[in-house]
Subunit: 336 residues, 2 copies
DNA sequence: TTGTACGCGTTATCAA
DNA sequence: TTGATAACGCGTACAA
C-alpha cells in the first residue's frame, strides 16, 4: 500500500537527522521529548516499518530463529511449533521452520541456508540427525532430544528442554499392568534416540517391579512416525508375537494407527489388548475409543524454549539451568 | 565451525577483486575460465556461503517466502505446507510460516513483519482474513481460497490454486445418497469462505438431483476446525435434529471428531448414520472405521504454488492461467 | 541533545 | 575480462 520510506525520509520530515530517528526507534541514546513526539507521529502516520534486512546486516543477526523438526505433519510436533512460534512472536521474532524428513542431507542443506540468513538461533525439536555441528556457537535449544547422544565435542552454548521420559515410560508400564496386562509389547520409532531409551527404561522398570518378564523381541522399532507404520507394527505384533495383551506405543500417532488395526480385526480394546500412547495429541482424546496416554507439556515446551533462546541471544542465559526436565502426566481414557 | 568470510577475503585469496568474485558466484558478466576455477576452488575449500542478508538488502528482496495459514496443527494444512516447502527448497527459497489462528490481528502483525523482512512473495493457505491489503504488488498465491470474496480492489498480481470444490461437494452428496441417506446434515467451519460455499453448492445439487429436500437448519457452522468442534457439532445434530442418517463434514478433522462421538454413543456407522469427510488426511485412512472422504491433491497444490510464485517473482508468470482448478477424487471407505 | 560519517557484505555501474 | 566504487537502509562511534 504505502510506498516504503526510510529513516532518511522520516528524518527529513521530522526536521532532524537519521541518527536521532534511529535512537527513538530503538529507544536508546538520548533525545528530547519534543523530537521523540514528532518522530513518533510521523512513523505512526506513515506506518513506517524499519527494513529488517538492513538492520540485521548492521547488527549482524536477524530477528529470525530457525526450527528444525523431523515432520511438521505430526500433530505433536506441530503443537510444539505452534507454541514456540506464539511465544517467539511476542518477543518479535519470526521463525523459519525446516522439515528434515528425518534426512540428514535435507537437514544439512537447510541448516546452511539458515546460517546464510544469519538466524539468531536454532531450535531442534526431537531431531535425531547429527550433521548439525555447523550451528555451533549459535544459541541453540533442544526440545525433547538430548544432543549429547549424537554429538561428541559439544559446545556449551546450548540448552535442553525435555519431559521426564523415564517417568513417562514408567507410568505407561504401570497403567498397562494395573489394568491386567501380563505380556506386553512396545512400539517405538528410533531406538537410538535419548527419549526412546528413557521411555523404554522407565517402562521396563515398571514391568520389573510388577514381576513381569519382558522379552526383547517384543520391542518393535519402526522407521517413521505415522499412523501407517503404527498399523504395520501392530500387524506384526498380532501375527508374530504370542499372547500380547498390552501395547505401549511411544507416540500417539503410532497408537492411533495401531488402534485402528486392532479394531478392524475385531480385537477388543482394552478387553483383550490394552493400548497406551505417548504425547496426548488432540486426536487421541477425540477418537473412539479414546486413547490412554502420557501427556507431554507441549505449551510449556514452547514457552520455555522461546524464553530461553531469546535470553541466550541477549546473553542473559546465566540464570537458567542448562537442562530442564518437565513432569509428565498419565491420562487414563478408554483403551486401558 | 568455519569463521565466516566475505567476498572481500575470497577475492584477496584468489588474487582478484570482489567484483569478479561476485560475478562467478552469480554466473553473470564475463570472466576467464582460469579465474573462475581459482575462485570456485577457494569457495569450495572454505565452504563459503554468501551472506544472504547483504545480498537481499542489495537486490531488494530476500530468498524467503511467507506462508499464511490458519492453523499449522491441522493435518491438512500441514500437508500442504510440507509440499510447498519441499518444492520451494528445490529452488533455494526458505519459508516463514505464520499461524494466524484465524485471528485478523495476529495475521496483520505477522504480515507486517514479513514485509519488513522483505519477503519475495506470500502464499495464503485457506486464510479467511481480509486484512491483507498491504501485501499488494507483492507476488501472491492463494491456495484453496478465493481472495475475491473478501477483497474488493484486488491487484492483478496474484494467482489462485484450488480444487474443484463444487465437484467435491457433489460427489459427497451423491455418495451419501447412494448409500441410502435420505435426511442429511453438513458441518462446515466458515460459511463465508469460498471453498465452503462451493462445497455446499455441489452438495445441495446432488441432493436435489436425487429428489431429496434439504432443510437449511441442518447445515451446522462451527468456528474452528478441530476434532473437538466436530464432536460438539455432532452432539448438536444428534440431539436437536431429527432423523439424520448422513453427515457431510467439510473437513476430515471435523469428521474424525464427529465419528468418535457417534461411535461412543453407540450409533452405528454407517448403518444408522453415514459419514463423509473432506481432504483425505492420513488419519482418515488409518482409523477404524476408516473415513470415506474427498481427496484434495495436496502434493499438486504445493508443487504448483511453489512453481508459480517463483515464476511470479522472476516476472515469468505470463504462461500460466491465473486460476487453476484441480480435480478431486471420491475415496470410498468404511463410513458410508 | 543532536548530527556527521562510516561500515555491515553484497551487487551493479562504469571505466579501464 | 577486470577492478574501483557507489549504493542498499540502518545503527553507532565520535564530534559538536
Amino acid at each position: 500500500m504505502q510506498e516504503k520510506l526510510s529513516v532518511k525520509e522520516i528524518a527529513e520530515m521530522a526536521g532532524t537527522s537519521v541518527a536521532t530517528v534511529s535512537r527513538v526507534i530503538n529507544q536508546n541514546g538520548r533525545f528530547s521529548k519534543a523530537t521523540e513526539k514528532r518522530v513518533l507521529e510521523i512513523i505512526e502516520q506513515y506506518n513506517y516499518q524499519p527494513n529488517q534486512l538492513a538492520r540485521s546486516l548492521r547488527v549482524q543477526h536477524s530477528q529470525v530463529i530457525g526450527i528444525m523438526v523431523p515432520d511438521i505433519t505430526n500433530e505433536f510436533f506441530a503443537n510444539i511449533i505452534r507454541a514456540v512460534q506464539e511465544h517467539l512472536l511476542l518477543q518479535n521474532y519470526m521463525t523459519i521452520i525446516c522439515n528434515t524428513n528425518e534426512s540428514g542431507i535435507e537437514a544439512k542443506k537447510q541448516l546452511q541456508m539458515l546460517l546464510a540468513q544469519k538466524v539468531s538461533g536454532v531450535i531442534y525439536i526431537n531431531n535425531g540427525e547429527n550433521d548439525v555441528l555447523e550451528s555451533m556457537n549459535l544459541p541453540t535449544v533442544y526440545i525433547d532430544r538430548d544432543p549429547r547422544e549424537t554429538q561428541a565435542n559439544l559446545d556449551e552454548n546450548y540448552a535442553m528442554i525435555e519431559c521426564d521420559n523415564i517417568q513417562g515410560g514408567y507410568l505407561a508400564g504401570q497403567e498397562l499392568v494395573r489394568k491386567g496386562a501380563r505380556k506386553v509389547a512396545y512400539v517405538c520409532y528410533d531406538k537410538t534416540l535419548s527419549t526412546i531409551k528413557k521411555r523404554t527404561q522407565g517402562f521396563l522398570t515398571a514391568l520389573e517391579e510388577a514381576g513381569i518378564a519382558f522379552d526383547p523381541a517384543y520391542g518393535i522399532d519402526v522407521e517413521e512416525v505415522s499412523t501407517g507404520e503404527g498399523i504395520r507394527a501392530t500387524e506384526y505384533i498380532v501375527n508374530h508375537l504370542k499372547d500380547v495383551d498390552g501395547i505401549f506405543y511411544m507416540s500417539d500417532v503410532l497408537a492411533v494407527g495401531g488402534l485402528g488395526y486392532l479394531l478392524r480385526n475385531g480385537i477388543p480394546v482394552p478387553e483383550k489388548i490394552r493400548v497406551m500412547g505417548f504425547d496426548d495429541i488432540s486426536t487421541s482424546r477425540n477418537i473412539y475409543p479414546s486413547l490412554t496416554t502420557i501427556r507431554q507439556p507441549v505449551e510449556e515446551f514452547g514457552c520455555l524454549a522461546a524464553l530461553r533462546i531469546v535470553d541466550m541471544i541477549n546473553g542473559k542465559d546465566s540464570t537458567w539451568q542448562q537442562r530442564q526436565r518437565l513432569p509428565v502426566e498419565l491420562i487414563v481414557r478408554e483403551t486401558t
